[in-house]
Amino acid sequence: MQPVAILGAAQTRHVARRDDACYSELAFEVVAALLAETGFTHPRIDTVITVSSDFSDGRTISDMAVQDAVGAAGKSSSKVSMDGAFALAYAAARLTCGRYRTCLVVAHAKASEGRPREISRAAFDPFFERPLGPTDHVALGLQARRFLARGTVTREAVALAAARALAYANGNPNAHWRGALSSREIQLGPPVADPLHRFEVAPDSDGACALLLADLDTARAHAAARGVPVIRLDAVACATDRHGLGDRDLGLPGVLPQVARAAYAQAGITDPVREIDVAEVYDASAVQTLLWREGVGLPVDLLAGPAWNPSGGALCAQPGFATGLVRVAEVWRRLAAGEGRTGLAHGMTGFVGQAHCVGILRRA
């Protein structure tokens, strides 16, 4: 694809409940922060993509309620009702078509306002699955069993991944969960989605995230004027797998390997272990922290290759469909700060990773 650039990223702190702000106010908060950070004003935003879930917001056409808050009135705006990482593909398409120079992407979620388990259950087949009581957590438990049954990693390694995420999150001011727990303490904690325990399953968070994208000419002018590096989006790839839990092997990374290969090919990456400096993936469970590594072609050993979910990942903050966009924001922030040159950001939608999206960011 023709590269575009990410000029800035902003996110809220992710917490269990934001009583002080309704969801459009969360969106306003990140847009105001992003405009302040980049020095852009509303008239310089050409097009807007918002990311939201009607079910989660409890509001039909939930995107229309945030249009004032994101300053979209009078502009071409559209919506992604999937994980926010997929909005990267949409934003890149809008910019490369040549009609727009700048694109604002805004995702919000207030998990505290709805009932995430009930809402997830409503996505299952009404005849054959829903009466059984499946939820996103039930699917994570089934996936964990399939993954562990392969014998490639131990139960201990999964708990260690969760402990490591909490420790990383101690350095992330936006994280919902942080702490210092041993893998043993985690395995003795309350079960959430057998065999997974608390802290091995991502929390339900209130939060929002916004990115500003632009074509390369605009990005270069912006970088020169403000003395900041150009962070390009060199690749974005996505694919969807079969829907039914019974129609995929949940212990395998599904379509993620093919998505990662497509992204690497677009970005000219031949050796991801050596070439990627930082990676942030949407890990809804500590099993996924490990499984998505395999999916993007990295060794199981968490210490090999790029910094892996150094923010703590989704395991420490999961604001609904904003979760994947937060991965992009985290990678952007680290590259902008000089913590590496190439980064991978991943998002997913659908139970236990039915659809995956991978973006490759590079500091020019």
Partner: protein, 157 residues
């Protein structure tokens, strides 16, 4: 596959409950109702006044920073009849129908406010008619939308 002779459907009753935060601005408005006041937000940049109050200005998309009180009377700009039965989301009980639903422009506001009207017959209403807000008795107000009962025809302009 053999021909389908008796297609089957299942009835499904999902239970979806939401616990919405009114936020800083919504809470301010509800607190105002408890005091029998109509509060609006005003933008310092473009001087727009909006009710109910909200963070994002619809004029300049900046943050609305000031709260102002409006006179509890205005002009009826539109009305219609609600005859569709529904459960009141706050009580779970069906609201008696039919009734009139109106859009009221408070003096000093740049937008219109939607609410119940006391009049049940649209033939007795007209666009441009003055209306005034009627609240519950002070002792019964608790800081919820229902503290504002309805708008009724007002006297004078």
């Amino acid at each position: 596959m053999s021909d389908l002779k008796a297609p089957i459907a299942v009835r499904c009753t999902p239970e979806l409950v939401y616990n919405y935060a009114a936020g800083r601005y919504g809470s301010l408005f509800l607190q105002g109702l408890k005091e029998g006041r109509i509060l609006a937000s005003r933008c310092r940049r473009c001087a727009r006044t909006l009710v109910p109050p909200r963070l994002a200005c619809t004029g300049c998309f900046g943050a609305m920073e000031d709260a102002v009180e409006l006179e509890p009377r205005g002009e009826l700009l539109a009305f219609t009849l609600v005859a569709f039965p529904f459960l009141d989301p706050f009580t779970g009980i069906q609201r008696p129908i039919p009734y009139c639903y109106g859009m009221v422009r408070f003096a000093g506001a740049d937008n219109t406010f939607q609410y119940f009207l006391s009049e049940k017959d649209p033939a007795k209403l007209r666009v441009g008619q003055p209306v005034r807000a009627v609240f519950r008795a002070a002792a019964e107000r608790v800081g919820e939308m229902a503290d504002l009962l309805y708008f009724e025809p007002g006297i004078g302009g």
